[in-house]
Symmetry: C2
Subunit: 328 residues, 2 copies
């Protein structure tokens, strides 16, 4: 078991390469903002048993805590720069856990070129708590908000939706992948999509140039589209059969059609939802192809009095009420 | 019971008066830094049963969560500007709790002229978690660090030390104030010092002008002085009988002398520990008197090979080993 001081000195301090972190030896960190940039700040609390499992690999836990925050910064068209990390431990950590956790932090920070600025360590009688505050930068006034979508804009989603929800259910053995026709590899890949979601950082600069609004899909497409439409004061029609789903997910949906609707109301995919004006739509799509990233047009913005409607292939409206996800 | 959406819309949103909060309707907040200022960032996680009690008044809980962070900013010589707030609820909050909690936030933010920028709400199977990230500003390069103290500097502490530790013990009925000679008012005032510590924000600009180093006393004077001496690479001698204690604390110490040493190793006072060069010492002291704030010279910095020694009135060394506070 490590003392607080050992955890900080031996494991966290080597991760602090930025001058402003003062090697974690002060009450506060110093961030000297770049001129003519806005700081884009997001904060996510992750709690064992709620956002990850206490017995997940410590490097996966560290990765996910950073990834869900990196995803917010990407959705805003900003470049991630640094993070503050808060941890509350139910028990003093074992050195092996601390080592793997900090390797997960270090690898992810290196991959996304961000640095650890500072934070707080403490104890708790409850489950492990991770609290990340992330800082990104974007040219002043250029943050992509949820509020800029206009009627007529095309609605896009990146990647595949629903994989993380299925990965969770496979991870918890709530569904049996093998019985439902998944190969071992497909099973693993869906679980990985839950454990290690990919922040779409490569999309940030395209969003900044072209998106009228954007957000990341953390609470499921139904809930998140509702938030975006409220912020932008628009309605929308979504073609459910255009929703991008992976081959593995498709297999599960064909075995159990109920799973598809569940996936729409479930978050954790951390894909990007963005609206693009019709005149930029083709350029946007071509540019994402150059990035090698799958992006799918799933619907269109309407004026707000139309509300949000979900249509099937035959153009019939599908009711998805009561499918929203709530944190408490 | 409130839904997450009701809690945010009805209770938190009215607190967001800054443009950069986007009325909590986005994934991220925008902070447009002032020119030629450094951002000073601190983060503290507070957990029910550890940093406060779940049955404390919700406005006291909100106050304390902000106060301990404001204290860090004050110790750094900076001006507090804004906060991000993360909350994890074990159960959906009652409207009365939410109302009182947000009144506590609002009153404290108004008192210290800070605004709510954004945050995160979620659920937990454990105790209530509050996570605050606070932002202050100070002229570039002017933050008061822990690392600037020099041998010969005078060591000062603000206010009275140990009150919060006694307040905690009175609050938990671990000691009986009436039996130990406290008046009802003294009893209440010590408990209040634990529940509602006062960030010494009025000291910030003096510290910025004169302190060679400073930090706030959150883990007890023994542990915190050790941190400051490590960061500054100095030793120190501390006159234990010069430690500023309140009249109420003095009464308890005279009834039970063990309480005094306990208080030195216990934090939660959120007073300021600062070092001032001998040539500035008198001006510093006079200036604090103009502020109406009690500040006491408790010792002197020595070169590092001397270590830290605690002396009694007769000049004899007192051993205080093993009295350090650990979070886990």
């Amino acid at each position: 078991m490590l003392t607080e001081n050992e955890f900080i000195e031996t494991y966290l301090k080597p991760l602090c390469r930025s001058k402003g972190s003062l090697s974690l030896s002060d009450d506060a960190a110093i961030l000297t903002p770049s001129p003519n940039q806005d700081l884009i700040i997001s904060k996510d609390i992750l709690i064992a048993g709620h956002h990850f499992f206490a017995d997940d690999r410590p490097d996966d836990i560290a990765y996910k805590a950073l990834a869900v925050n990196l995803s917010d910064i990407a959705a805003k068209g900003a470049t991630p720069k640094s993070v503050m990390l808060g941890i509350a431990f139910p028990n003093a950590p074992e050195p092996s856990w601390a080592k793997a956790f900090c390797r997960g932090l270090s690898d992810t920070m290196e991959q996304y070129s961000i640095c650890l600025l500072g934070g707080d360590t403490t104890g708790t009688k409850g489950p492990l708590v991770l609290s990340i505050t992330i800082f990104g930068e974007v040219e002043s006034g250029k943050m992509v908000k949820r509020s800029g979508a206009q009627a007529g804009d095309h609605i896009y989603a990146s990647g595949y939706l629903g994989d993380a929800a299925l990965g969770y259910q496979l991870r918890k053995k709530l569904i049996d992948g093998a019985k439902l026709g998944l190969s071992d590899e497909e099973n693993k890949s869906l679980i990985k999509r839950y454990l290690r979601p990919t922040p779409r950082s490569e999309l940030a600069s395209l969003l900044k140039e072209m998106a009228t609004s954007a957000m990341d899909l953390s609470d499921g497409v139904i809930a998140d589209l509702e938030k975006l439409s409220n912020a932008s004061d628009i309605g929308a029609k979504i073609n459910l059969d255009e929703m991008p789903v992976s081959k593995a997910a498709m297999k599960l949906f064909s075995s159990d059609p109920n799973l598809k609707n569940q996936c729409l109301s479930w978050g954790d995919d951390y894909e990007i939802l963005a609206t693009i004006s019709p005149e930029n739509s083709e350029t946007f799509l071509n540019s994402t192809r150059h990035l090698g990233l799958e992006v799918t047009r799933i619907g269109e913005c309407l004026s707000s009095e139309n509300g949000i409607t979900y249509l099937n292939t035959s153009g019939e409206e599908v009711s998805l009420k009561g499918q929203n996800f709530h944190h408490f």
